[in-house]
Symmetry: none
Subunit: 609 residues, 2 copies
């Protein structure tokens, strides 16, 4: 008997992470069998030649969770659009079924102490104050019991206590059973969600295995996209939890051996039904970390209207390992070639071969699909081609299938079977000249974006001695990777001034020169997009090896920042500048930057208040 219990979209989305967005009911989506196959555990052997994409209507959508592992998934019912009755842009009336209204939620990645057996949960103050019912601070210690429902509707009761010196919020009794039952380890996350009626929900996000962002390099590789991230995230050895076992600790649970082949068969069945124009169902695991294979039709259409060619600069959003944040990566299109010319000769799936500015972090991502990325709106480093004629060229159609959507375009100049552009290709100049790869190439693009030449980016306030003001600089922990190509990085300075601060510091440490201004010097590399998250989990920039990156409307542009003003003003400006909702001054306590030598530094300042 299949457990068909659904859960609320709000909780589902909160657990799935920021990145996940399933198209609304009755909307039109493109179904990509290739993407579906990537999403399956193992290699999928398609038995017949199939269309690379099928335009469908999303007729049913169920948000669900595995009863044993809490692994999230969604069941989508898709009805291929009848091609004969296909009218171009007129979509069916959208049923605005619960436009998933964002409820306040808070996610925290578990520390070692949080996940320790027998330990408690250190509740970030923000979480306790915004998510939990208010404590009665007249009692000593302030204490209450809170109840939260998980994805199955099961209730978990936690003792919430405010104690310790200094005082802090803790979950004690009830926490360990939760951790043990859910088999959480350090690095996994818990998500608290407050419903409109103040009911509390709790979800989990298991950290992905492996290191770095996991993505698919090749469709023909033997790697297991799904197995590597989703289900088998549960397969990790769990010695700490299973200490009872003396010698044998292969106590993996929850996954049947056959799941890979089962999923593979489901893909084949779905693809065949889709090809026949018959209704079909797919199961989507949002945490499998493979790109969505049912993509909003308008998104695909818009993407395919763009003339893609090598040299174009773009950005792409990816989740961090624990899905706590979204990170934008920037890259350059190196070529436009179908990913699998034999099986899917006319597919736009992963048609873009790309080079990343930060190649070390995205080693496995060699190809992306046009709708996955956003073109940088600014002019590209190298002007677009003038020939062949700028009129749109049709995507080469597979001989066996009629054009499914005549509006889909791709830049051509690749043949179906020989995709390597000839050396004398007129587009060869689109490839950056030798020695302009990577960050250098980025430099070109950026310099064009920025009205100021790179050499002018230093502010007048910046003087060489400050470059080495080690008093307020600390080395990051040793497992923080050093940036590659430091010599090509640009130098930026951010001057954050704390003026008219209403509170004076009590005990400035002797070894720290109390600066009149908080000075950030270097290139602001990366920050995180929290703008869509109501309750912000403070970023632990150290453990995540993240880099501060300025991510505003003018993403990718280096900036010269000098912020002066009161705390409130600073707060406002930073909020605006970083595009994040800073609900707590602590966000300002830690800033990571890269100095002119490319070394990653960290400034630690006293709390603002």
């Amino acid at each position: 008997m299949m457990d068909e219990k659904c859960l609320s979209p709000e909780l589902w989305y909160a657990c799935a992470g920021e990145m996940v967005q399933i198209p609304p009911l009755t909307s039109q989506v493109f179904y990509f069998p290739q993407g579906h196959a990537e999403h399956a555990c193992g290699p999928v052997r398609f038995t017949s030649l199939l269309p690379p994409y099928v335009l469908c209507t999303l007729t049913s959508l169920k948000y669900m969770a595995d009863p044993h592992t809490d692994e999230l998934f969604a069941k989508l019912s898709l009805l291929p659009l009848n091609l004969n009755h296909h009218h171009d842009d007129a979509e069916l009336p959208l049923i605005h079924s619960k436009p998933p209204h964002k409820l306040p939620s808070f996610a925290k990645t578990l520390t070692q102490s949080d996940a320790n057996n027998g330990g408690g949960f250190s509740v970030p103050r923000y979480c306790a104050e915004k998510m939990f019912p208010p404590l009665d601070f007249s009692k000593d210690p302030p204490l209450q019991y809170i109840t939260a429902k998980d994805v199955h509707g099961e209730s978990w009761r936690f003792k919430h206590i405010y104690r310790g010196t200094p005082r802090r919020h803790l979950l004690t009794t009830g926490w360990s059973p939760f951790v043990n039952n859910k088999k959480l380890v350090a690095g996994d996350s818990v998500v608290f969600l407050k419903a409109n009626n103040n009911d509390l929900y709790v979800g989990i996000r298991r950290a992905k295995r492996g290191n770095g962002v996991r993505f698919h390099s090749s469709l023909t590789s033997n790697s297991l996209p799904y197995g590597g991230a989703g289900l088998s995230g549960f397969l990790r050895e769990d010695d700490r939890k299973r200490k009872l076992v003396s010698i044998n600790n292969e106590d993996n649970i929850g996954v049947m051996n056959s799941s890979a082949s089962v999923m593979g068969e489901a893909v084949i069945e779905a693809a065949n039904l889709a090809a026949q124009g018959r209704a079909f169902d797919v199961t989507y695991y949002p945490r499998a970390s493979t790109p969505e294979f049912c993509v909003k039709a308008s998104l695909v259409k818009n993407a395919m209207h763009i003339k893609w060619y090598s040299g174009l600069r773009f950005k792409m959003a990816l989740q961090t390992q624990d899905s706590s944040r979204i990170t934008w990566f920037i890259g350059t299109i190196s070529s436009v070639e179908v990913a699998d010319p034999l099986l899917w000769p006319s597919s736009p799936w992963r048609i873009l071969q790309v080079k990343w500015d930060e190649a070390d972090l995205l080693e496995n991502v060699k190809r992306v699909s046009p709708w996955s990325v956003e073109l940088l709106t600014d002019m590209p480093a190298i002007p677009p081609p003038l020939s062949p004629s700028p009129k749109k060229l049709r995507l080469l159609q597979h001989p066996h299938f009629p054009p499914l959507d005549p509006q889909l375009y791709l830049p051509t100049m690749f043949s179906t079977h020989h995709l390597i552009p000839p050396p004398n290709n007129p587009y060869a100049y689109h490839h950056p000249p030798a020695g302009m790869q990577g960050a250098r190439q980025a430099f070109c693009a950026l310099s064009l974006l920025n009205p100021n030449p790179a050499g002018h980016l230093l502010t007048p306030a910046l003087r060489p001695p400050i470059h080495h003001s080690t008093a307020i600089q600390t080395r990051l922990s040793k497992n923080t990777p050093t940036l590659q190509n430091p010599s090509t990085s640009e130098n930026v300075s951010c001057l954050l001034s704390k003026q008219n601060s209403t509170h004076s510091r009590n005990n400035p440490p002797d070894d720290v020169k109390t600066p009149p201004h908080l000075v950030l010097f270097g290139k602001v590399i990366r920050t995180h997009n929290h703008s869509s998250c109501d309750a912000v989990s403070p970023v632990n920039l150290e453990t995540d090896h993240c880099k501060v990156f300025l991510d505003t409307e003018d993403l990718g542009r280096t900036m010269n920042l000098s912020l002066l003003g009161s705390y409130d003003e600073l707060y406002r400006k930073l909020t605006e500048m970083f595009g994040i909702l800073i609900s707590d001054a602590k966000m300002l306590n830690r800033v990571i930057y890269q100095d002119i030598k490319g070394e990653i530094k960290r400034v630690r300042d006293e709390p603002f208040r």
Copy 2:
């Protein structure tokens, strides 16, 4: 990636139990889709009309175990025989690939104490002495560490100690982790197996759920044969093991929701391939407690040569719940009718409707297949029919399929669609007359077998007072079922005389008259066939609700026994008489019998030495 690791046939068979015997490689087997469907978890919807049996060659055989649950299964590759080149009795040359040589093994059903968390394992002396390396009894306490490999080749280390008053063998350290890891509960069994190089192996047999022998009453029922016994034996709630969970204790593991439908699909795929004469694979779970669906061809052919008709007496072997022993049950054929006239009108599968002598123990077994049973070699109670002509009649063939094996015969007199014999059926007299059902009917059959009339079965040594010698009779525990139809039971006496005993008893209890002879009086009802088992686990006749039954070559015949002689002679005679290998005198300490009133009694005697 499927775990394709195989395990040794010896260990596999030791864990599977005595009943399981897979035909040898390259031998011919009949594949029965109906049986395969029963073996699956859920109802199987066959989409097309298929042959009810397919003669195949067993081309590959892999002994495997589920990596998580240790559930045993075998993968059989079958190649349907080409009908055109089919030559009747000439089978392919048998590859005698490892005729699974019986290794010494010992199985024990876990007691509550054995399965208790934190507890140890009480090692039966016989097991310790025959299976484990010898202890050094010069040390105090004698102690050693033994290592045993499980089905996955994982090693488990146990402290083996000989202590306590009185001294006994125990496994302490290492045992609890084993029990916890394997999630064993009281009633499950462990099997120790000693390889030729003295390596020790340990396997498990999970007790079947439900009570009594589980078997299938109907093919159209909604019961889940496989789910009830095999996989979902693992689905039981396991509160004791999962005490960590506070509110939510739905912590079932190991089974995917989809397994039922997955297995169903596998059945359909296999049956379709078989019908097309193409090679196919099946997975057989020996502990699913459904009859084998791949049966040695010779067995089926032999069975189908027999003219089956109502009134025939037969025996059938079944496992006890914990698979520690085989029990033979006796029954009478009540009619011969195809089990599913709509879907499988020409199938011999479960064609025999039966009545059991002990109907209470086999409530769910209404139908069996001819090859599952053994005809009692003696003449039936009622002479075989003289008409219609005794020449063999062909089994009605399904209109859509040619006869697959012209040698298969069945008694006819049932039409494909109307199977109820008409009241004036000439075979009506095969049904026993009213009032001759059950044991009464058996009596008729038996009385014909036995040269002595039933009334003469009492030995001269038997005198009425001894019937009621309650001094040496104790009531069985109250959950021992009382036999039905006690009044129809026959009276038998077994006189076991202990003469020339080399040891005299020390302290005969006052209330027990020391008899010169150990006297068993009543009908010996049932014993167990251990003859194929080298190391015999002593039978706990009480907890198993078993009955002593004489099971010799002349099975079903009541006997008048009077054993006189020395211990050695007694031992020899009992061994011979009961058909079991008594490797220990303790086997003689407990004898259960049924007195003339039908009450079950137990004689307890001093140890013989």
